[in-house]
Amino acid sequence: MYIFIQQVINGLTIGSIFALIALGYTMVYGTMKFINFAHGDLVALSAFVGLTIYTTVVSSFSNSIIAILISLIITIVIISIIGYLLERIAYRPLRKAPRLSAVVSALGAGMVFQNAIMLIWGPNPHYYPADIIPNKIWHFGDSVISLIQILILLLSFFIMIGLYILVNKTRTGRAIRAAAINQDAARLMGINVDAIIVIIFALGSTLGAVGGMFLGMFYRGITFNMGWNYGISAFVAAIIGGIGNIPGAMLGGIFLGLFNSLIAGYISSTWADAFTYILLILILIFKPTGILGERVAEKV
């Protein structure tokens, strides 16, 4: 039993990071109907930016938690600006172009991010300091949970609740949803769709930045090419949940984290990838709109 509980804890931790990154994919897809392949590399970039800022500011603060929060905020600001520029430079000129052009532009942007990281920080891995979060572990039975895991779970939970409230209960949130359903109709409501898209990119980048820093704090080692792996996993999570659907991305991320853990733990780690993608393909065959996908929202 403890193995199962342990696997669930493991799965939830990585799953909530997947969910944060998946939200970036799903929000962009929801409004612009294209897959932002550069998002994973943006997440990697934020892990590097976060580390650099942390190492510069940490000396001024005695408390490492405050230093983390401050560097998290600065990183979010920087990455949001980069996300905005990405949209402005690489995607906005392609709004009216065939959708695949935007996909190729996104692939190009991902290549730019990845190689920029390599040129700025070098090809060697970088490391978050080991004592950034005290290495505290709690046992219950034979299962364990660490402080950093609890922090990741709690923070992700609050961020997602916050996002849910933002999207469902506020004026801007309604505008985001309206723009996702039909941009012309949204314009007729007086919604500035361009501004909404900027907000979406800023939000997605923010969540990605948080995810990237969590990855760095949890695993410590970060590499210039780590973005692709997480990007593709988060993207799969977004699809499992129903791409374009915000609660779907959250659920999809957590589901994928659990699924990976249980497959690797109980069936086979050597074939874990294959199982994940077989599941993905089956979901797409039998319920193409994902777990939470709504048919009504689909434009043909």
């Binding site: 309604r174 505008a175 314009r187 929202a297």
Partner: protein, 245 residues
């Protein structure tokens, strides 16, 4: 009527999609508080006219003057706050959002939602009140049309643009909707309506314009247009359509 009283004036408006021109230089005027109908067959350019007024389509040349504002140079989201609201062709309600939230979105440009106005919309269309917590996508066609009109009223518009409100609806519903439009007009809202159902539109409106492949071919008082032989033959289909309304 004096020109300075004109609310909306279109001068020599040209619009094209790629190489195909949809509007070949039309001009029309709308005065405050009146109902103006644009009739014409499919592809005549009716919808294009409304979408250009709302700023969804860029004009190739020409002017659209609204109370001193040159609309062709203003982006769509800034036209709504000027007091022009549109209920678009095909309704375009936000299907995965509740009816009430659709109405709230209609009031987006006001910053604060006017709940009294929402009550007025519910009075106008009681069906919407019954279904206010339902997702808009689950409504019937007629209900969606009501929602689309109601939504466009939420921003307290001075001028309402209606694109084919009767399209695809049963006669009884068409009657209901047109009655509501009359009611809206009585509140002082100027209405510019685009319709394929020419007879209903002309009966409702004060004045009418006839659009044919991107050109205005006839205009005048609605009553006179209803009597015009040419129009009867082309758009009113003499016998059969008589029974529709």
């Amino acid at each position: 009527m004096k020109t300075k009283d004109v609310l909306l004036e279109i001068k020599d408006l040209k619009v094209s999609y790629g190489h195909i021109s949809a509007l070949k230089g039309i001009s029309l005027k709308v005065y405050p508080s009146e109902i103006v109908a644009i009739i014409g067959s499919n592809g005549a350019g009716k919808t294009t006219t409304l979408r250009t007024i709302s700023g969804l389509i860029k004009a190739q040349s020409g002017e659209i003057n609204y109370r001193g504002h040159e609309l062709t140079k203003i982006p769509a989201h800034k036209i709504v706050p000027l007091g022009i609201s549109q209920s678009p062709e095909g309704r375009l309600v936000f299907g995965t959002i509740t009816v009430e939230n659709n109405l709230k979105l209609g009031a987006y440009s006001l910053k604060k939602i006017d709940y009294a106005r929402m009550e007025w919309v519910y009075e106008l269309f009681p069906r919407l009140k019954e279904r206010k917590n339902q997702l808009a996508g689950t409504l019937s066609g007629g209900e969606q049309q009501m929602l689309a009109i109601g939504r466009s009223l939420m921003c307290n518009p001075e001028m309402l643009l209606l694109d084919e409100p009767s399209l695809g609806l049963a006669p009884i519903l068409v009657k209901l909707i047109f009655k509501a439009i009359k009611e809206i007009s009585k509140q002082g809202v100027t209405v510019l309506i685009v319709e394929q159902n020419a007879r209903a539109a002309l009966r409702l409106s004060d004045r009418g314009y006839v659009l044919e492949v991107g050109n205005i071919v006839e205009y005048g008082n609605s009553e006179e247009l209803l009597k015009s032989k040419k129009i009867q033959e082309a758009y009113l289909g003499k016998k059969k359509q008589n029974q529709l309304i």
